[in-house]
């Protein structure tokens, strides 16, 4: 029993110091194997395909037919810039036409434009008479004023009126007063040759306009509106 114990003790003693050299030996063997494998890889200078039978059949095609033979690079460069520029020009044309179509779509159509202007023969209107015509769905008053009425309209002290405006600002020719027949209060149509000032009178709420269409009395805040009009020739007026 004592002999066995001493034997095991001796083995254990011997084994413990031997364990480290064994591990060192294994590491050395592994490093040797590594270096050998690297040297094997570097033995050949070219790449060998790892697949069987793939090495012999690979052929690199010739691109000589596609290469620039002229030598300089100016020609191809001009060509590619030309293509880019043409593309840009076509694209900008398309963009411009798209925008233009939308804008044209928004503008007035031909039937609206045809009704936008009205031509009136003024020679049929005697002096001192009113004519009411329809323009863009609204009444337009045309008054052939007498000399006395023109004098009265010009002599009025317009600076103190509610909407101060001189008679010369409201007419192009003094004898022809042309204005929209819509009361500026709530949009009724005033009655001609009525009211306290010899002009127009709105029956709805009692606004009085003078012979120049200016508001003189009543609730309306502004003078009767003057439309765009022109005298293209003698005895003709075009409204609009």
């Amino acid at each position: 029993m004592a002999a066995l114990a001493s034997t095991t003790r001796t083995i254990a003693r011997k084994w413990t110091p031997h364990a480290l050299p064994l591990a060192a030996k294994a590491t050395a063997a592994a490093s040797v194997h590594q270096t050998r494998s690297i040297s094997e890889t570097h033995q050949t200078s070219s790449f060998d395909s790892p697949f069987k039978g793939a090495g012999a059949g690979t052929k690199i095609p010739s691109f000589a037919a596609y290469r620039n033979k002229s030598g300089g690079e100016t020609g191809p460069r001009v060509f590619s810039y030309f293509m880019v520029g043409t593309m840009g020009a076509l694209a900008s044309l398309g963009a411009k036409n798209t925008v233009q179509d939308f804008l044209v779509n928004m503008s007035a159509s031909a039937d609206v434009l045809a009704q936008a202007k009205v031509e009136i023969d003024l020679s049929a209107i005697p002096e001192g008479k009113n004519v009411i015509i329809k323009w863009r769905g609204k009444p337009v008053f045309i008054r052939h004023r007498t000399d006395a009425e023109v004098q009265e309209a010009e002599d009025t002290k317009w600076e103190s009126l509610r909407d101060p405006q001189s008679d010369s600002d409201r007419v192009k020719k003094p004898e022809w007063l042309i204005m929209l027949g819509v009361c500026t209060h709530l949009g009724c149509v005033p009655i001609g040759e009525a009211g306290d000032f010899g002009g127009w009178f709105c029956p709805c709420h009692g606004s009085h306009y003078d012979i120049s269409g200016r508001i003189r009395k009543g609730p309306a805040p502004l003078n009767l509106e003057i439309p765009e009009y022109d005298f293209p020739e003698e005895g003709k007026v075009v409204i609009g």
Partner: protein, 67 residues
Amino acid sequence: MAGLASSIYNALFRRNTVMLGTVFASAFAMQLGFDTGSEKIWNSINQGRQWKDIKHKFMEQAEDDEE
């Protein structure tokens, strides 16, 4: 050929601003040409059938009606 190409490159494409101007100018010219060309083709196809071709018949009649 190379001289022409390089002079075109130097004149039109070298500076980006000049290239942009060239592109817009050519777009304008293209539109002008396209519009006039297509208009001519349209008029040649529809010759004698448009209002401007038959206008004189009806306008004379209308004047006669008025008098």
